[in-house]
Assembly symmetry: C2
Homo-oligomer: 344 residues x 2
């Protein structure tokens, strides 16, 4: 592991994406979402994607010049054709449109298809919450990795769910998780440390219980979280994220482009129910009360979002820990693209 | 256990609620929701509540004549004062209003406060789905029973989440669950059968791991499902179901009326995105594909809602199994109220 300052990664990412045909503004935005994911501890959705997205641009899966376009619209809904633009650009337009419509019409729903990998979903819901809007996102991943409850084999993607709620003085309430027990990134980390994994994370290719982090690379699959309850959300994300938006389902045998997302967002102006300021104050109060709940011995009680803020504080001061191969692949890429690399 | 036909329970329930001041129509509706919960296997929310609600009417917690009233409204949102009417009447008005507004404005959000226990949440979301509308409900229970992730003690209610999606030929997709690992009803059943319970369901009053179904009655508490992931939903339901609607939170020390609900519903017309008929056909197709996923040995793959439909079919033909004390308490109540009981 090597510690790299966030601002360096942001400059490098911006340079790398700019050099591949993105406008400076878009390049910086995408780099920022990836750096933010790394800062908040979501390494599986972080700067590791700088080389990956670059590969997808070269292979023609991501069109760096494309602009997502609204193809169907009402006062409170919109459906976007992402036109295989960078997924972040599509997801930003989804959440911007949802927030704008929620502010005008109290509640809104916006979906997108032909959408590349959008990165960490919580980036967008948090963006909405910072504007005083409650937001939820139901996302399908068109790349099977997770089985269904009681099932075998890879069936659906990790189909993440995210929700964010505006707060006043305390940091935003943010839910952001895969509907599998864990995202694949956590298993990658276990492999890199040669550690065993808990037996409720995966099955091997024969459907056997396993603690081997390699089983998933050898034909195994992830399990949905919380037994049938997480499975229900996994499938809801498939119906809203893929069917409703016209995106590729996890069941679809097509594999290109890799890791597409079907995106469905709901946004809500709390003012339609209670005054935004009261909502924020009362949300603060309940989150403070949660933090005061006596913990189990050796544990801490945190509210959704807190672990991410804590990691961000630490990584902003200490730097972002990166596996050396990730860091060197970013540097190589920058060099290939003829960027001047100033690492001071 | 005794098997009682659903139609007898419906007649008895209707008679019992009518005799306590509800209009015939409302009495029948409430009885129907309870019988439906029993039919679908949600015994903890079933006809067992006929005597309980009656007690709450006598104690003045449920006002049999009250009508819920919209106190704040936009074209696509409404906030209802339930005025302590029977919770079912309030929840029906919530979902009716949400569906009506979603059909006019594509998406809607409706909340309610001063709301008694609404019974099985899935009744209302399913009601919406049968009208061609996607519905979600985020409900808080103002009666602490569940701890928070890594916490100790009863903090929040079982805060159920429900979502239903319209289907074509296959039976509706329906999610309906507590955000605790299990609802208390499952533990009651274990007690009645003198069975041990899995150790991830509850903790005893000292926070110790336990398989004793009595621990929860002796100061213990329920755990949220799926580790921190279910806890996130538990808290989201608290923020939307209680804070946004102005309902009593689980943290509130007040205990009267018992088991209040803060209700928050979102409804969505799929037609704003894809044609309703295509949505139904494609939902059918994906649910059929899920059913064909090879199961783990000795298991079955079902989609959300299927277990309930199967139980309903069986109970419609065989009758609803009731503990004898539940059945006798219903009969005693009918007698007290001077109803003519024709059990043929």
């Amino acid at each position: 592991m090597i510690l790299v300052p966030a601002d360096k990664l942001l400059r490098l990412g911006t340079g790398i994406f700019s050099a591949q045909g993105l406008s400076r503004e878009k390049a910086e935005f995408i780099a920022e979402t990836l750096v933010e994911a790394s800062l908040t501890g979501h390494d599986s959705h972080g700067v590791f994607y700088i080389p990956r997205y670059s590969e997808r641009i070269r292979e023609g899966h991501i069109d760096p010049k494309a602009e997502p376009k609204i193809v169907k619209e009402t006062a409170s809904t919109a459906l976007l054709d992402g036109r295989w633009a960078p997924g972040q650009i599509t997801a930003l337009k989804v959440v911007e449109t949802a927030v704008e419509k929620a502010m005008k019409n109290a509640v809104s729903a916006v979906g997108a298809f032909n959408c590349n990998h959008i990165g960490r979903v919580g980036y967008y819901t948090n963006w909405a919450a910072e504007k005083g809007v409650v937001a939820m996102m139901f996302v399908n991943v068109g790349h099977p990795a997770v089985t269904v409850f009681n099932g075998t084999g890879k069936v659906f993607g990790t189909n993440p769910f995210s929700a964010a709620v505006p707060t006043g003085e305390v940091r935003p309430f943010l839910i952001d998780y895969a509907t599998s027990v864990v995202a694949e990134g956590k298993i990658t980390i276990a492999r890199s440390k040669a550690e065993k994994i808990p037996t409720h994370w995966t099955r091997d290719r024969d459907g056997k219980v396993t603690d081997d982090p390699w089983a998933i690379k050898q034909g195994g699959w992830l399990l949905p979280f919380g037994e049938y309850k997480g499975y229900c959300l996994q499938l809801l994300n498939e119906l809203l994220g893929a069917i409703l938006t016209g995106s590729r389902t996890g069941l679809d045998p097509k594999k290109e482009p890799p890791s597409t997302n079907g995106v469905f967002a709901i946004a809500l102006d709390p003012d339609a129910f209670i005054r935004l300021n009261d909502f924020k104050l009362q949300t603060d109060e309940i989150l403070r009360q949660v933090r005061r709940v006596p913990p189990e011995p050796g544990k801490r009680v945190l509210y959704p979002g807190e672990p991410e803020w804590e990691t961000k504080d630490r990584r902003l001061s200490e730097g972002i820990p990166l596996p050396e191969e990730t860091w060197s692949s970013i540097l190589e890429l920058a060099e290939e693209l003829g960027l001047e690399i100033n690492l001071d």
